[in-house]
Symmetry: C2
Subunit: 521 residues, 2 copies
C-alpha cells in the first residue's frame, strides 16, 4: 500500500508533534539546506569548446561571465573601454589619478593600507551568495562592514535645534513612543476587534519589552538610549538616563522616512562585509583569472546581429584604429546610458527597454582626516551618520580602528531628495569637497580643520558609465532575454540593481542561457 | 558691562536660530566632546613614591589598578590565587587544560589562530572607553563582533512547529504587526487625546515606513523579511515575498521578551568588538606590563586592617607555606562568593554587603565544528541564534569567515530561565557536551555529525571565581567606599557587572581614591 511522503509526514506529525515532523522533513531532504550553497553555474567541462563569446565590459558581470564560460571551454574575449578592470568596482588610494568626463583628480591620501575609499560598491550582505562564493573561492579576505552603529548620528537642521542626536536615542525613543501609544489603544479596548483577550495581554507584555515601558505602560525614558554626561553607560554608580527626545520633533524630522530602519532593508541587514584592503580586491581577483581575455581601451562603436552570431565594431584606442570581432554570442554589460548611444541593430523592443532605464545620480566623496576624531571624541566606530543636507550620509571607516588617520565617506548621495546628485555632479571637484566639508561641519563642529584631502566621484559624469545604477528595482523584460545572439547582463539586467550580486547573477543567467542554446543546438 | 556666557548664547540663539547657538556652544567648548576621550586617571608622576599597595587578584581590575598606580610610582604587589593572569578573561585553545573544582578538561581544538573560545568576556561595546582605551594604548587589534545577525535564527519549541525562523522575518513581521495595529487605532481616532491632527498624519506616515505597511496601512508582508526559496533576495527577476509569520504564534513565542531587541540594550549595541585572536589579548597585554608584580599561586587566607594599613596572609602554593604582606593600602578584587569565606576583620556593613552579592550561574560551551555549516548551508556569519532550550544561545564565530572549521559557542547560559545554569553546572563535562549538542540539533538538524570536540566552563564551579558576575545591576554602597585602608574593585564594585569596563572603572575609582587620600595626607 503506497504512502506518499506527505502522508508519512502527516503521520509523524500526528504522533510526535510538528517539531518531529520538521526534523523528519529535514532528514528526508525536503526542506533542503536553508540556502543555495553554490549559485555559480556548473557547466560540463569542454561543453563550450569551439564556441566564441564576446563580452562587452570588464566589470564584475563581464568578468564573471568570462570566468564561468572559460571554465567550460568557451573562447571568450572581453572588450573594455577603459584601461582598468572592475567597472564601478573602484577603490582609490594615494597616488591614483581618476577621471571624469571633464575633470581629473589626483588622490592625495597617505599611502597606508587602511587609507582607501571605495567609490563604487562598498558592502556585501551575508546573503549575496554568488559574490561571497567568489570571495571564498578566490581567497578574498573579508571583514565586517557596519551599517547600523547606534553611536552614530542623525542630523536634521530643523529638529532638536540642529544638534545631531545618536542612533541609540532616536531608535529607543521612537520604539518607546510607538509602544506607549499602542498600549494605550489596547488598554482602551480600541483594538478588541483585532485581538483576543489572551493576545491583548500578550501584546501589552510584548510592548512593555519592545518599548521599555514602565509598569503603567508609559514610556518615561530608557537605559537603552544611554546615560547623561560623558560616560554613555552606567559606571561605578548608575548615572541619570538621557531625557527622552520630544516625540513631536522626532515626527517632524525626516529620520523615520527610511534612515532609522536602514539596517532592516534586506540588502542592508547585518551581517555586512567588505574585503580587507578595499572592494577592488574582488575585481583584482577576477582580473587575475580572466585578465588575459581583456582587450583594454577598446571602445565599442557598433553592435550588429549576424545570422549566426554577432559582429562588434570597436575602436582600439591604443592604436587609434577601428577593429571588429565576430563571435557566436555576445554578452553585453554596457550600462544603458552608454549603450543607448552606440549604433546597433537591436529590435525596437530592446532599444525601448534600454532607453527606459534611468540611472541614479550617485556621488561619493572620500575625505582623509588627520585624526580619527569620530573615534576619539565620539566613540563612533564605523557606521553611518545621516543628515538632511545634500551629502546625505557620512560613513566612518569599518577598518583601521584606533589608527591615527582615517578616510571617511564624506558624502554618499543617491538622490534621497531630487537634484542632490545633479547639484554635486555639476560642481568642480574642489567645489564638491568644499561643500561636503561645509555640510559635515554641521554634524561635527571642527570638521573643517580635521579634513586634509579628498576625492569625489560623480558617476553620471564618468566616461563609459554615465550613472550610478538603475533607479527602477526591476529590469525591463526585454533585457532578460536575448536579442538574436546578444545577451544582456550587468546589474541593470536584474531585480537587484546597484549590487555586485546582481552583476554576478545576470552573468550566471546569460551563461546558463547560452549553454542551454549550445546544448540544444 | 558684563555678559555671561549664557546671555551671549541666548543672544546668538535669538538672532541666528538654535542651530547657530549649538555650533557656538560647541566652539566655546560648552558642549565639550561628546564623550570622555581619556577615562584612565592621570596621576602625577612619582606621586605614589614610597607607598605600598597590595592588590588581591590579577584579573582585569587588579592589573588595571597595578598598571595605573605603578605609573605614578606606587609600589604594587598583586596576589593571584591561580597560575594565570586575567581572571574571568579566559580564552581557550587546542592543547590547553582548564580546571573546575572537581574536573579537568583537555581542549582538543585544532591549533589554528581562529579556533579558540572566549569562555569569559567576549565582546566590547563601542562606548566602553576605558577598555577600548587600553586596547588602543597597548596595540590590541580589534575586529567587529556581531550580536545582531538578521540571518541567524530564533527557535522556540512551541512556536512555528518547532522550526527556527530567521531574525529578519521575526523582526520585520513584528514591526509590521505593531505598525498596523497602531495605525488602526490612530485611524479610528482612539488616540486623539494624544496626537494633534498634524501629528496624526505624521504618525501614520511614520508607521507606514516603520512597518512597511501598504497604502491602506495594512501589513501584508515585506521584502525586508526576505523572499521565498533558496535565494533570500531578489535575483534576475523579483521573487515571491516570504509569507508573514502568524502574529498569534509570534506572541506566544518568547522571542519578544528580550531576545528580539537584544542589540538595543545599551551594552549590546552595535558597534561591538572583539580582540583579534581572542579576548585574552587584553589580559596578555596587561600582564606584559604588570606581570613582574604578580605573585602567582598565592591564595589569600586572611585580610586584616592595621592602624596604618593592611596585612594580608596568604598561602604560597608553590612552596606550600604561609606568607604575609603588609602595605599602606589594599585593593580587593576577589569575587564576593570567594571573598565572603576568607577570614577578615571587615566592618559588619562590609561583610553584609559582600554576603549579599549573588553571582549568575553562567555556563559557556565551546564546540569545534568540522565544517562551517552555518556559513555554507545558512549564510549565517557571526551573530546569535536564540532558543528557549537550556543552551539559550548559539554564537557563530565573528572571525575565520570562510575557513574550513570553526568554533561556535554552543551554549551561553545565564539563567534566562531559573535553574538552567545549575543544571549544566552539575553535569560532568562530557554530559554538558552531549546535552548542548542534543539541544543544538533542534536548531540545526545534522548538528551532531558536525561537532567534533568541545569544552565547557561552569563559572559557579571554578575555583577562586564561584560564579559568573553579580546578578544585581548595582553594587551595595558599602563596596563603593574603603573599609579602613581596603578598597574594593572588580566589576562587582560597580553598576556595570559582568563587563571588563566595570572592572577597569572600579580600578580607576580605587586608584583615584587612594591618590586623593595620599595627597590629602
Amino acid at each position: 500500500m503506497g504512502m506518499t511522503k506527505r502522508d508519512f509526514l502527516r503521520s509523524i506529525g500526528a504522533v510526535a508533534g510538528v517539531g518531529a515532523a520538521y526534523h523528519t522533513m529535514s532528514a528526508l531532504g525536503l526542506l533542503g539546506p536553508a540556502m543555495a550553497q553554490a549559485t555559480a553555474p556548473e557547466l560540463p567541462l569542454g561543453s563550450g569548446y569551439g564556441k566564441r563569446v564576446v563580452i562587452l565590459g570588464a566589470g564584475i558581470s563581464g568578468m564573471t561571465a568570462a570566468y564561468e564560460l572559460s571554465k567550460a571551454g568557451y573562447h571568450c574575449t572581453i572588450l573594455e573601454a577603459t584601461n582598468r578592470a572592475g567597472g564601478r568596482n573602484l577603490t582609490v588610494r594615494g597616488g591614483d589619478v581618476i577621471r571624469e568626463i571633464d575633470n581629473r583628480q589626483w588622490v592625495d591620501f597617505d599611502q597606508e593600507d587602511h587609507l582607501y575609499a571605495n567609490m563604487g560598491p562598498a558592502r556585501i550582505p551575508y546573503h549575496h551568495r554568488a559574490i561571497l562564493g567568489y570571495c571564498k573561492e578566490f581567497g578574498v579576505e573579508l571583514e565586517v562592514f557596519t551599517n547600523d552603529n547606534r553611536g552614530a548620528l542623525f542630523h536634521n537642521a530643523e529638529a532638536f535645534g540642529g544638534a545631531p542626536v545618536t542612533g541609540r536615542q532616536v531608535m529607543t525613543d521612537l520604539r518607546g513612543y510607538i509602544a506607549e501609544l499602542l498600549a494605550k489603544a489596547v488598554s482602551r479596548d480600541a483594538l478588541d476587534d483585532e485581538l483576543s483577550g489572551d493576545d491583548k495581554e500578550r501584546v501589552l507584555a510584548m510592548l512593555t519589552s519592545f518599548g521599555d515601558l514602565d509598569p503603567d505602560h508609559l514610556y518615561t525614558g530608557s537605559g537603552r538610549s544611554g546615560y547623561q554626561g560623558e560616560q554613555v553607560h552606567a559606571g561605578v554608580s548608575p548615572g541619570s538616563l538621557n531625557d527622552r527626545l520630544d516625540f513631536s520633533q522626532l515626527l517632524k524630522a525626516d529620520f523615520w522616512e527610511y534612515k532609522l530602519h536602514f539596517g532592516h532593508f534586506l540588502n542592508q541587514n547585518p551581517t555586512m562585509f567588505q574585503p580587507v584592503g578595499g572592494m577592488d580586491a574582488i575585481a583584482r581577483a577576477f582580473r587575475a583569472r580572466v585578465g588575459h581575455l581583456i582587450r583594454f581601451e577598446s571602445v565599442v562603436e557598433e553592435i550588429l546581429k549576424r545570422p549566426e552570431g554577432v559582429r562588434i565594431v570597436y575602436r582600439n584606442q591604443r592604436l587609434n584604429q577601428e577593429e571588429a570581432i565576430e563571435a557566436d554570442f555576445a554578452i553585453c554589460t554596457i550600462p544603458a546610458p552608454v549603450l543607448r548611444d552606440i549604433p546597433n541593430d537591436f529590435s525596437a523592443e530592446t532599444q525601448a527597454a534600454i532607453a527606459s532605464i534611468e540611472f541614479v545620480h550617485a556621488v561619493k566623496i572620500g575625505l582623509q582626516a588627520r585624526r580619527r576624531f569620530w573615534e576619539e571624541d565620539h566613540a563612533i566606530y564605523g557606521g553611518i551618520s545621516w543628515t538632511d543636507q545634500d551629502i546625505t550620509q557620512i560613513w566612518y571607516p569599518s577598518n583601521g580602528y584606533h589608527q591615527t588617520k582615517g578616510v571617511i565617506m564624506g558624502a554618499y548621495i543617491w538622490d534621497d531628495q531630487p537634484g542632490q546628485g545633479l547639484r554635486f555632479t555639476r560642481m568642480t571637484p574642489p567645489e564638491r569637497l568644499r561643500m561636503a566639508i561645509a555640510e559635515g561641519e554641521q554634524i561635527h563642529p571642527g570638521y573643517t580643520d580635521e579634513i586634509e584631502s579628498g576625492v569625489s566621484r560623480a558617476w553620471l559624469n564618468v566616461p563609459f558609465q554615465k550613472g550610478g545604477w538603475p533607479r527602477n528595482s526591476e529590469a525591463p523584460p526585454a533585457l532578460l532575454k536575448p536579442d538574436g545572439a546578444i545577451y544582456f547582463a550587468g546589474d541593470q539586467a536584474t531585480a537587484l540593481p546597484g549590487w555586485q550580486e546582481g552583476a554576478a547573477l545576470a552573468a550566471h543567467a546569460a551563461v546558463e542561457a547560452i549553454h542551454a542554446r549550445v546544448t540544444a543546438g
